[in-house]
Symmetry: C2
Subunit: 192 residues, 2 copies
């Protein structure tokens, strides 16, 4: 079983799948998961709905692929984050409304009964809180204002990021997301 050109087909298939996932991200941003139709995603990559089902046998399978992509996306810098990089991330996000909108819509839907992304988000947030607590500890040690521990502060940090995103998506001109986030970080920088 030679590899040489057998890979070509595989690579092309993988590229097509990635293309589809990208389109799905867009459509979900515009309509949410429930509102996103396979046909709309398919059209965006020049396929019929049934053609799309050749790559992802069900709508849920496509969603799983979307979520997996997301994991991969920020798994890279997850190794060692620092507070200032976090601020940069928010700034970066402010230039990519699409991605934010996708996952804000998804997060909102996920609190709904029987939503296929619910488990994903539950796990993810638990993980993110832990990760943020670690970041806070390496940055500030246990010397956070008001006797707060990193573990108790982490949910706040995450909440601020998410909450600001919603306000910003609804009214970008009224909310300076990166600025507000820096304000919050400054609040944590204060010595008790």
């Amino acid at each position: 079983m030679p590899y040489g050109d057998a890979m070509n087909a595989r690579v092309r298939s993988e590229e097509r799948r990635a293309e589809i996932v990208r389109a799905a991200l867009e459509v979900i941003a515009e309509r949410g998961y429930r509102g996103a139709s396979l046909a709309a995603v398919a059209e965006r990559v020049g396929l019929t709905q049934q053609g799309l089902l050749h790559y992802f046998p069900t709508k849920e399978a496509l969603l799983v692929a979307v979520l997996k992509e997301r994991d991969q996306w920020d798994a890279v810098p997850a190794t060692r984050w620092r507070i200032d990089l976090l601020a940069s991330l928010v700034e970066y996000n402010a230039m990519r409304p699409g991605i934010i909108q996708t996952f804000s819509a998804l997060l909102g839907e996920s609190v709904t009964e029987g939503h296929p992304a619910r488990g994903y988000f539950t796990d993810r947030y638990r993980q993110v809180r832990e990760s943020m607590a670690a970041v806070l500890r390496t940055e500030y040690g246990d010397r956070l204002p008001n006797g707060l521990t990193p573990e108790r502060t982490a949910p706040l940090l995450v909440a601020v990021m998410d909450g600001l995103q919603y306000q910003w998506l609804l009214d970008p001109d009224a909310v300076d997301m990166p600025g507000a986030f820096r304000d919050f970080l400054a609040l944590l920088g204060e010595e008790a």
Copy 2:
């Protein structure tokens, strides 16, 4: 035009409408607005879908009624809020997951294109930010930590409330929503 019993019919009708709105709140909490079918709402109040349309001519009209109810709901204490009442509100919310879930799901959906609740939330958040800024000013004056102004702090306050709600809805056991919110308030209480 005598009022006496003419009111009876009107009252009964109004009660029915309120009943329907209540059912709609539930169904939206469970499935979101897009996922909520008129038939499901109707069934919950013992009507057919067409019977429901007698009270609300379109699905969107029903949503508008739901949002109006919400406005009325917290318009009462909006006259004069204080920080400690805010903490109590969060505590109260923690005992009513249903309502929170309804509006968290709705907020998530609303960032989506052409969602009928988008305008509502945009206006509302602008208003809430103003209101919160006023609360912060009466509580702390302009003496917030780190030279923050009430206007710059308000978005953070709102973001924390919303963000905590999502984390809490996804994993109630892992997140102490009222406690975390108090932590945040304590952060603001620190003198610069």
